[in-house]
Amino acid sequence: MLRLLSSGLRLVGHRSINAVWRLGSASRFMGLVMLRSGLSFRRFHLIIDELHFAGVLSLIIIMVSGLFVGLVLGLQGYETLKRYGSAEAVGTLVALALVRELGPVVAALLFASRAGSAMTAELGIMKSTEQLSAMEMMAVDPFARVISPMFWGGFLSMPLLAAIFSVMGIFGGYLITVVIIGVDSGAFWSQMQSSVDLRNDIVNGVIKSVVFGAAVTAIALFEGYDAPPTAEGVSHAVTRTVVTSALAVLALDFVLTAFMFTGV
């Protein structure tokens, strides 16, 4: 009985020490990335490469998903609002839902699975094939040459992707409600404009997407850097990246929403 208790406690202690240890190495890792980012900003073409990889290549999935999310929101919102005789408010519904929540969150989830997983796999394989060590041997700092450009590429492209997602979604909502169903176009835009606020809604949405971009990219890079140098280790790291960043995005979204949109 006593032995069972002590082994249980030992398990808890082991887990917590591991968690704290990982947190510490993650912070040291991010500190190094920040410290070396000056060098990578001086060689800006490295960041442009990563912007192409994380941003441009994610454009298609972001735009198509945004369009379809907008179409569905428009259709569902119209069906419900029609009952209360205020079908024109569908513009407000689509715009507020996208700008405040769905744009940043869904774009971040797509970004994590499209770009974050690829970053983890790339870093993990670079580590397991000892390319990172080879760089160090040649006196090339892998943080300045590889990791920190990846971080800034992801960090800079995420807000732009979220904005494109929201605009595509609003366009989708416009398409389904105004062009196909026949809601009045003027009422659609004017109700939207009178209720969406620049400071409260749009700026807060952009802040959210910046935070999510930093979180997803940091998680992806750390998982890749920390992956055990085996095929299995890399595959587990990629899985962990997607799961952890999805949970982190949703949890951060709740915290940010609680700060931004409560009270007056």
Binding site: H45, I48, D49, L51, H52, G55, V56, L59, A95, V99, S157, P159, L160, L161, A163, I164, S166, V167, I170, W189, M192, Q193, S194, V196, D197, L198, D201, I202, G205, V206, V264
Partner: protein, 156 residues
């Protein structure tokens, strides 16, 4: 991929993202309409503000002329002090009146301003003397029932 084509694609991506941000700010939001940061602030006292909220519009003849900036309770008179920030393009006479109105049957509440006839205009920090409180539905119904009861009561 060639360096130049890669640069071109990244350029297109960044331009599209920045355009999207501007579209959000100008077309979806209302950055292009009145933002009353530089206006004068007047205080209106109400017996009851109903469901009025901070940032509700101040309208005169249906035109948005300002925003509600702050709501507080005066604990000496137990009346509500509502701070109104009014665009400086719209000067109002000093005896203007403010009332709390409702847009539509279930819509949001806003402050309606009616111009008076005074020679002097309102200045920063002035108080509006003539106000009309929000209509609270329960009170109206209560008064109506009370009146009915008085009409058909045992006195007659």
């Amino acid at each position: 991929m060639q360096r130049t084509t890669l640069d071109l694609w990244v350029g297109i991506f960044v331009a599209a993202g920045v355009t999207a941000l501007f579209v959000l700010a100008l077309k979806v939001g209302n950055a292009s309409s009145v933002s009353v940061s530089d206006g004068y602030r007047v205080i209106a006292e109400f017996d009851n503000i109903g469901g009025l909220k901070v940032r509700a519009p101040v309208k005169s003849a249906g035109v948005v002329v300002g925003r509600v900036e702050g709501i507080s309770l005066d604990t000496r008179t137990f009346r509500a002090n509502v701070g109104l920030r009014i665009d400086k393009r719209y000067p109002f006479p000093r005896d203007s009146s403010a009332s709390i109105l409702t847009a539509g049957l279930l819509g949001e509440q806003y402050v309606g301003m009616d111009g008076g006839g005074d020679e002097q205009n309102l200045k920063d920090g002035d108080r509006l003397k003539i106000t009309q409180s929000a209509i609270v539905l329960e009170k109206v119904i209560g008064q109506f029932l009370y009146g009915k009861a008085a009409e058909t009561g045992p006195g007659k």
